[in-house]
Amino acid sequence: MADEAREEMHEVENEAPAEGPARPSDDVAAAVLEAFPGSVFALSHGQAVVYVDRANLRDVVGFLLLEQQFTQVVDITGVDQSTNPGRFLGDGVAPERFEVVANCLSHWRNRRLRLIAQVPEHDPVVPSLVPLFPGVELAEREIFDLMGIRFDGHPDLTRILLPDEWVGHPLRKDDATARVPVQFKAAGKPQPKV
């Protein structure tokens, strides 16, 4: 039921008709494209990549885990693409500032598939994968900590590598390395000798 609604939604969104992107050479990617219209397949240095809508990210991972014998989201990370205008993108994918990249692996089929979701700057929220796959709990916290992308549904979305009171997200491109003031500045001036 939700699928039909989603299909309709994507048909409206997706202006480029099916003749543009070639049929994926990867059968898992083809299955994902069939189940989630609007996703875009790309081959990046021989690796299968599917660009998915960020609202679908959890559903796609669920589809891979439940129906395609995928076993792990090996790695999930965030990318700030704001300084990368000529970046690699699938055909017809509307670029946004952030990307969330999930590398999925099937041990049984010995296959990898990379899912990339575009995340806009004004609303950096992605559905958390933790309810489906608890093995990305720390990784999602790391993305939140360093990149400032929030994961909706994560049980404990707190800073992990930086102190809790830290301001900013250092892996963002506008968070320059030297911008952080020196810590311990409250130690005071050196006392004069009596």
């Binding site: 790695d75 700030d80 690699f88 093995g135 990305v136 990784a139 360093l146 590598l161 102190p163 009596v194």
Partner: protein
């Protein structure tokens, strides 16, 4: 009912030092204080009177002999902090344990004490310099980090390495796997109180590191594998050295094996401790020996061969119980498998170049710099500006000693990566500690953290 009472004397608190206000020092305190009044060249040495000591006219602690108040059963769990300076945490891992009596209900790792922003640093360094950065992540297996980074860049550049360069990488990988696993055996033994195992592990590891020093110039953090090959060829006579290393490591591993594998105390502390099932291990993102200890013979060297691993003969070691003993045993036997691969590398090492002869990524030979101005300029440009990598993104993965070590690299077409992310096996494996720990005893926490084998440089990056 005995009533214990202890009051702090406050007879003279006007200028008595805080440390002089105890019972036994009554009377003597003012004199001592006077003695300390003299001015030194750093000012008065007298501590300021403590405010707490002066304010509380009568501070008393009353211990009655009554029964403990009824405890709410919901409050019976206790949170205990372990680390970040605990010797068995292999660095600075802090672990919060929720205890119900002696039984651990939950374990939460608290990390970040070693975070140095290496992924951000990686964006500031050129592809030539990048290896010096990534090699410091998993400092027990630095050659793997360098390789996975170089492999990702080579994929973006679409470089094909000469076969000797690949075999050198394979040889060094297996030696590094040996040294890393020996480190594990040493620390695992030490954590469980078997200090002899520690000494044996260190001793053999030293042999491997000595070989590394001969080849790369450094014992750790080698910066040896660069984009396009390695920094240097193997030195003369490396075959004998490598074989000698294999011999002594095999001997040392046999000793550790003899010392621990049938040792009843060792078995008592590891067998059936920290059990994790295969579905748990998969769901928690485990890889490497932890996954293999649960009965899944998954090894990227076999399944997705990246170096000429398909041309050498070795076995994937796995076990089925998923306990601490299996993880110990897998790593022990993997050392022997690595030695087997090293021997084959010595036998089949092809000739040829140790790096790709592509002027774009390879500096000119040293001799050319003396005779050619262009070579000097080329060398200078390469090491200051680096080389540009076409825009793109890729993921490279190798089977590190702790599991899948990956590098997700995004290039924007300049000489520095736009994003360099390392998939750190220790980081993901750390999540399994909670599942292993559930229902175990406090004393087993040490065993379990040790058998997860986290390298904090890898976890925090």
């Amino acid at each position: 009912m005995g009533l214990l009472r202890r009051s702090t004397s406050t007879t003279d608190t006007s200028d008595a030092p805080a440390f002089g206000s105890g019972d036994e020092r009554d009377g003597a305190a003012p004199n001592d204080a006077a003695a300390l009044h003299h001015q030194t060249d750093e000012g008065s040495q007298l501590m300021r009177p403590s405010k707490a000591a002066t304010d509380a006219a009568v501070r008393e602690i009353v211990l009655t002999g009554e029964l403990w108040p009824e405890v709410d059963p919901d409050d019976e769990t206790m949170i205990v902090n372990m680390g970040p300076q605990h010797p068995s945490t292999h660095g600075v891992l802090r672990v919060m344990l929720e205890l119900e009596g002696e039984v651990v209900l939950r374990l939460k790792p608290v990390i970040g004490y070693l975070h140095t922003g290496m992924e951000k640093t990686g964006e500031e360094l050129t592809y030539v310099q990048g290896a010096t950065n990534v090699t410091r992540m998993d400092y027990a297996a630095s050659l793997f980090n360098e390789t996975v980074y170089a492999m990702a860049v080579e994929q973006l550049l679409e470089l094909e390495l000469p076969s000797r360069a690949q075999w050198i990488r394979m040889l060094m990988h297996e030696l590094n796997r040996m040294s890393s696993h020996l480190l594990f055996l040493a620390t695992n033994g030490m954590d469980l109180g078997s200090t002899s195992a520690m000494i044996y592990g260190w001793r053999e590891r030293e042999e491997v590191l000595r070989f590394f020093e001969k080849v790369t110039g450094l014992r750790m953090n080698h910066n040896f594998f660069r984009v396009g090959g390695s920094a240097a060829d193997l030195p003369d006579g490396w075959q004998d050295d490598a074989l000698a290393v294999c011999d002594s490591v095999e001997y040392g591993v046999a000793e550790i094996d003899e010392l621990l594998t049938h040792n009843p105390i060792w078995l008592e502390r590891t067998v059936g401790i920290g059990i994790i099932t295969s579905s748990q291990a998969l769901a928690l993102g485990a890889s490497g020996p932890i996954l293999r200890s649960t009965g899944i013979p998954w090894d990227l060297r076999k399944e997705q061969p990246y170096l000429p691993y398909d041309q050498v003969d070795f076995d994937v070691i796995y076990a089925e119980n998923g306990d601490c003993f299996d993880r110990y045993r897998i790593k022990l036997v993997e050392i022997l498998e690595s030695a087997k691969i090293v021997r084959q590398c010595v036998e089949h090492m092809p000739g040829g170049d140790y790096r790709v002869q592509d002027g774009k990524v390879t500096p000119p030979p040293r001799a050319r710099i003396d005779e050619s101005m262009e070579a000097l300029i080329h060398h200078f440009k390469l090491f200051t500006e680096g080389f540009k990598v076409p825009a793109g993104e890729t993921y490279a993965a190798v089977e590190g000693p702790r599991g899948e070590l990956g590098c997700y690299l995004v290039s924007d077409g300049t000489a520095k990566p736009a994003r360099m992310h390392i998939r750190a096996p220790s980081f993901y494996n750390l999540q399994t500690a909670g599942a292993m720990m559930h229902g175990g005893l406090v004393a087993d926490a040490i065993t379990i953290i040790s058998s997860v084998d986290p390298i904090m440089g890898d976890v925090d990056r």
